[in-house]
Symmetry: D2
């Protein structure tokens, strides 16, 4: 299981949310060293928006706990919108190209979950990526495939519909492929303005996902990283928040 | 332009052919530091056959000149058949998954050359890979695609025909895609018994390829690495050699 | 805590002892993913002796569980004497130069344990390395320092005395530095002929160390990796074994 | 020979000076691919000051030309003071710990040049590092050693005197060690406010170093990267510039 954190609001240094909290994302990778939880040591990445429309991205294959570059960047970069991910591989080797977040133009995406039986279904699922977007396919992960499929279904205009359509097509490919394994999807997408966090699973066993308003904005995280008033993102829902606006939570269903 | 070396014969330590010669493969990457030739610093790899039917493989993203593991392995490993490659990227980022040699079962393949306009044609060319082999697709390079396409055309039974068929399909995809850029192909393939070296280009401008018999066996190389009696592999031909047998050179043409 | 395995005997493929056993070294790094034990994800390394007097070495910073090169090498290399290590950093960043095993000429060394307060004592302990050996200092770990100090105290002639002398000097430096933290030392050293495994700690809390005779030879390991008849290397002792000879266990004490 | 660039002035995006210019630092690493100049492919690094007193740092072992993280960071980070370096190894293996710039507190340092015979003199030169700063020694390069020696000679109060004192001690160690090889030193140091660029060599053969005022501030570079009005930093001199002030060039001599 991967772990992720995302934030939108007034600009904050990344370390305030990713490193300093008592159960920060980096310490969530560290935690495993003390055998308190699972390891997320198959690479890490951050993406952020500051002054340019396209996000900056740093991705590496070292575990977050030993990545000095990651720590230095989090200490220096202040952003109004950012996303961070630590990976625990389900499919796709440990490689920069398989590290989240993924980007396309001004869009950024990261995912925690899995496409059941993806090793066998990959061919068909790759086939769902639009021709025009196929050149952006850098790695072999199911997560990147879902992102690029959604990009071809209108992420610019109606992202919730685009993600829904992508997941429906992947679900159909899974049914066609005869798998009974689930499709599980906790994910964050942003176009640099609006942040959306999805939580859904074909078998109802959704990856965990929480959110919380802090003084400066809104945070989404796979698990609470401090003792604040975190709320679960309900199963089968999508959370939407733009800077300065209230969080909206709506039903999210995939047929 | 990548550079490659392959050997079959009595077992020799890899360093005898890859490191010690005056213009060795490793020094060919080093050479660039003295501005004598191009750089091949986008990763390196070796594959070898010793006691097991499947080849061993080491691949890394550091330039050969700075890869201490590569040097140690070459110093220790003695093999009857091996292949080495230093990469200069044409398409596909610097990543282990894009480093040669590529393997599938007991087969090993490495390539120097290019599929013209591959960035735009990749979708269609990936589509030529047989479904059953698609799970072996690890990276995004044109070279790996050609190998996997050929694997689906009978590399076990008639490798020359399989490679011909693969290149014909790729050529057709290039024509269909409207590119006028060339397909260039210097490559080494082996099934662990027979070594084959191909030299062909759609525009006649084949990447360089040489061969030489040494005391213990036969060597193929992108460029001569010592002052021995190297011969060019003729354009439009395939060289075939099995341990203990004489080298055969036959015409190789792609429609 | 790091983990290590060493073997001497009739040549065996490394994967037989490092990958295939139910609780193999590689799975010991993997194990953490299932929260059964601590993580050892700060790099890995193997060293082996085959035909040449100096050992071959492969070291990398990826966790063993995700290092495809490590797996391929273990599958291909057959050796009469080898050592493997997975690292959990105590001091010294995650870097190839801090990965075990360390080598000097035909000697190979790996360590599980720590020099208490090493961050503060490093200067003085580095100072114990003989001038002639200082050029071999590649990293910043306490383990490499101990090895190089011992190398300067006669590893060629009387290795047990050399290691004793090195640890006594390190202990003295620790006392001089005013630390009350312990010096703990489970280690393997070999000159390519004789394998020695040490288990000692200044506070009696020795890192675990086991050994076992198998059909082809003798194995030493931080923890049993199968259900065989493992015996503890007693605290305060050194195990000595050469190919074809019986294991000797003698008292090992540091003043 | 390494290559470096530094800037102080009004905040600019790093890519404006490091990537977009026709002969940018990144293209200087790339240039070698076209055999026009030497390769600087042994790692790269950037350091920058933005809102916090300590610099941010990114360092990696890939050649600049293939480091996607480096490119993304340069595109996103806007800084009033920054430094960039591409490495061509003279001593010290390719490792993050040997990549420039080096940092200590708010200080940042990078170097192009060499300590002649450093492999043999390293012990004595390391000995010149003050005890209190020795814990900051991460790698094995001569450049990092010079920086840490200077840090112990008053970089906070009188940096030119501190660098002079460090180089005099290193020169003395070289004489004591009996080497006749030169000490060559083109370097950039900053405390986050004032940028200093040094150019000196014991044999007069100084590494190249240029500077230029641009619209927003002042740039120092190993070689001109555009067609602007670059001036040489004279041999045996130090250039000093603080944001908003005029460049001063003074004599710099080492006994």
């Amino acid at each position: 299981m991967c772990r992720l954190v995302a934030y939108t609001g007034a600009p904050v240094f990344l370390d305030e949310l990713l490193i300093r909290p008592p159960a920060s994302l980096v310490s969530q990778s560290l935690a495993a060293r003390e055998a308190k939880t699972v390891v997320n040591g198959d690479g890490c990445g951050i993406g952020w928006y500051h002054e340019r429309p396209q996000p900056g991205v740093y991705r590496g294959t070292l575990p977050a706990w030993s990545d000095a570059n990651l720590v230095s960047l989090c200490t220096q970069i202040r952003a109004r919108l950012f996303a961070a991910h630590i990976r625990s591989e389900t499919f796709g080797e440990v490689a920069t190209a398989n590290c989240h977040p993924f980007t396309a133009g001004r869009h950024l995406f990261m995912h925690n979950g899995q496409v059941g039986d993806y090793a066998h279904l990959r061919r068909g699922i790759d086939g769902l990526i639009d021709d025009s977007l196929y050149p952006l396919r850098r790695g072999t992960s199911d997560s990147e495939a879902i992102f690029l499929i959604a990009m071809g279904r209108g992420m610019d205009h109606d992202p919730v519909q685009a993600v829904t359509s992508a997941l429906e097509s992947v679900s159909q490919a899974m049914r066609d492929g005869g798998t009974t394994k689930p499709l599980r999807f906790a994910a964050v997408h942003t176009d640099g303005e609006t942040l959306r966090a999805y939580r859904w699973a074909s078998d109802g066993l959704c990856p965990s996902l929480y959110w919380r308003n802090i003084e400066t904005g809104t945070v989404v995280a796979s698990e609470p990283f401090d003792t604040g008033a975190w709320e679960e993102v309900p199963r089968g829902s999508v959370l939407t928040v733009s800077a300065g606006e209230a969080v909206r939570i709506e039903r999210f269903a995939v047929d």
